[in-house]
């Protein structure tokens, strides 16, 4: 994994592929690599859909190795949704396969000629780019069926659907899972629109003939991996809660806490929560012959994913994730499991961020385009995006644009990006992360829910401002470092509670690269990534006023706890004072 490949999609005579050594980007992987490259090479004031922007796709430092849980793929660029730097990451097979093929990053650069629909094919012999107009306009599932006919079922794909081709700001990038379903998405920030602007429809990767990446110290690596896997299996969240119920095990607990945003963030509890909970989905999956316990990529230890079948026992979608169940469920007043799974399927197929879409449909409901609870209407509205109608283009541009188009104040966004599944008034730590993350409102950037609600890594009262700044700061630093490794973020549950499991992760990195990194080095890496991201945003025009929640979160109290967001602006400005 010592090569960076750059593809200039606008070169004279067709796309030009150039390989170069990893050079000054050595030691970076995943988000660290994408953010450092975007910060160094993309002019902060450029248009996200213009030729100066770059799409950087990078596996993590441990991807492609035997290390358990190392299959996250990072995608970075300047975001068309936020106007700032973006890293979105995804599971699926792509990271493992790209890393085995030896690439630290694939970078799409330049301006694609009008009407381009490129297919990039990568295998052990090299990289080819062809114009493939036959795939133009295809939704992700149909596209992958075509790819299977041509390349078989052992490849890994990174693709966009019609939303990405339309260059809409909520467009995602899909990665295939082990069953060749395009279900694992780099969802946030409109990364799919940037891939669309580069004229690339799909990257197909085949790692046949490429061995697993080998560590510098095989013995130490093996021992560290053993301790690592044991640590993940031993912790009750990663060892039993997530495998049994998936991420949606959260619906009941977040609802119980009063921080489950309902009806476009109007109240913190949803009457239909138990009908769409992880417990209900798991029972339904068993009943219909689906699979409640399933891994999204080779080498997954936690197995939080699942397969959801329709009433006839046929595959409908992956088990919808908690964020999706909330976004298309409670936030839209929908308590129908099949409808939510269908919306998940449509988002994956058209290539859309499920969080942004659920938030946007709820805004459209508040605007009166359809009624809260109208599942059929929500399905039809998402289909509009696939068809490219004017209404579909508004919805596909996200919650902020839709609120503006319909003259509404209540757009639950920060830096233009929709908030995920936790109300920042009833869970203030996550509000600090939403406000200050360089990514816009993003729960993964500093998952304060762990400590505010789940009592993992200690406990900080979610309803009080005290301790939230420090909590979010420390989590944002740790997350920026973990996102460099290619490790799935769910390892944090085990790592936060079990020092020996954190040490095992360090040992994996040290044994693989022949290093002697300590905790301090990990913290330094996290800080360096955040600093680069914040510097980019500052140069792109972001001031401290961008690190705020919308005013109505300070004005309108949320039931049942009747709280407003109680963190002072001057305290938010201290998050990055270290």
């Amino acid at each position: 994994m010592d090569t960076i490949v750059r593809i200039d999609v606008g070169a004279q005579g067709g796309p030009k592929v150039r390989k170069e050594p990893v050079g000054s980007y050595a030691g970076y992987g995943g988000r660290a690599l994408t953010s450092m490259m975007v910060a160094r090479e993309v002019p902060p004031l450029c248009h996200p859909l213009g030729p100066e922007n770059k799409l950087v796709i990078a596996p993590g430092l441990l991807s492609g190795t035997a290390a358990g849980q190392s299959g996250r793929l990072s995608v970075g660029c300047k975001s068309p949704l936020t106007g700032g730097i973006k890293e979105a990451n995804a599971g699926g097979q792509a990271a493992q396969v790209m890393a085995r093929l030896g690439y630290a990053a694939i970078v799409l650069e330049g301006a694609a000629p009008e009407g381009s629909c490129f297919l990039i094919y990568v295998n052990k012999d090299g990289i080819g780019v062809e114009n493939a107009p036959q795939y133009k306009g295809l939704e992700n599932y149909d596209l992958i069926e075509e790819i299977k006919k041509r390349y078989g079922e052992k490849v890994a794909c990174i693709s966009i659907g019609p939303a990405g081709e339309q260059r809409l700001a909520a467009a995602s990038i899909a990665c295939t899972d082990m069953e060749m379903h395009p279900t694992r998405h780099a969802g946030r920030g409109g990364v799919g629109a940037v891939m669309g602007a580069k004229g690339v429809k799909i990257i197909v990767m085949d790692d046949a003939g490429m061995p697993m990446r080998q560590p510098k110290d095989a013995e130490k690596f093996k021992a560290a991996n053993k301790a690592w896997v044991e640590g993940l299996k031993k912790h009750p969240v990663t060892g039993s809660g997530l495998p049994a119920y998936g991420t949606n095990v959260l619906t009941n607990i977040i609802n119980e806490s009063g921080g489950f945003p309902t009806y476009n963030f109007k109240q913190g509890q949803f009457d239909g929560a138990s009908k769409i909970s992880g417990e209900s989905y798991a029972a339904m999956m068993v009943k219909r012959g689906g699979q409640p316990t399933h891994g999204c990529h080779r080498g997954c230890v936690i197995q939080c994913s699942g397969i959801y079948n329709d009433a006839d026992g046929k595959f409908l979608s992956k088990q919808p994730e908690y964020e999706t169940v909330w976004a298309h469920g409670a936030n839209c007043g929908i308590d129908d499991m099949d409808a939510i799974a269908m919306l998940d399927r449509l988002d994956d197929d058209i290539g859309l961020d499920t969080i942004e879409m659920g938030a946007t449909v709820a805004v459209a409901m508040e605007a009166g385009v359809l009624k809260f609870g109208d599942a059929k209407g929500a399905i039809e509205l998402i289909k509009e995006i696939g068809k490219g109608t004017p209404l579909g283009r508004i919805i596909g541009s996200g919650a902020a644009v839709t609120a503006k188009a319909f003259g509404l104040e209540r757009a639950p966004v920060v830096k233009g990006q929709a908030m995920p599944a936790y109300d920042p008034r009833a869970i203030m730590g996550i509000g600090v992360t939403y406000a200050t993350s360089p990514m816009g409102a993003d729960h993964t950037a500093g998952y304060a829910i762990a400590t505010n609600i789940l009592k993992v890594g200690g406990y900080v009262d979610p309803l009080k401002p005290e301790g939230q700044i420090e909590l979010s700061r420390n989590l944002q630093i740790a997350t920026a470092a973990i996102d460099a490794t290619g490790m799935c973020l769910f390892i944090a549950f085990a790592v936060l509670d079990q020092p020996e499991t954190f040490q095992a992760m360090l040992d994996l990195l040290n044994a693989f690269y022949g290093l002697s990194m300590t905790n301090d080095d990990v913290v330094a890496l996290g800080k360096a990534v955040l600093k680069a991201e914040r510097d980019f945003n500052a140069a792109a025009g972001f001031t401290k006023e961008a690190d705020r929640l919308p005013e109505y979160f300070k004005r309108e109290a949320i039931a049942p706890h009747n709280v407003t967001f109680g963190i002072k602006d001057e305290d938010l400005d201290k998050v990055f004072n270290w």
Partner: protein, 74 residues
């Protein structure tokens, strides 16, 4: 006094989803956990009326106690 107890995820196995439980006046959260048949170490997160509660918190008639095993996601 009567309180309402709700169990979630694996705690439901062999028990119940929600049930009214009779406890003497002055009973604590830990008594509700015991009355529900949940081993104390499995009650990782407990809410009383939507607020986190420690085992030593006294209960009042009509309180809703929600008991969760260790869970996570996101």
């Amino acid at each position: 006094m009567q309180i309402a107890v709700k169990l979630f995820a694996t705690l439901r196995d062999g028990r119940f989803e929600s049930a009214p439980i009779e406890l003497p006046i002055g009973a604590l959260v830990s008594d509700a956990i015991e009355a529900a048949g949940v081993p104390p170490k499995d009650a990782a997160v407990v809410f009383v009326n939507g607020r986190h509660a420690e085992p030593g918190r006294p209960l009042s008639p009509g309180d809703a106690v929600a008991i969760f095993p260790p869970v996570g996601g996101g």
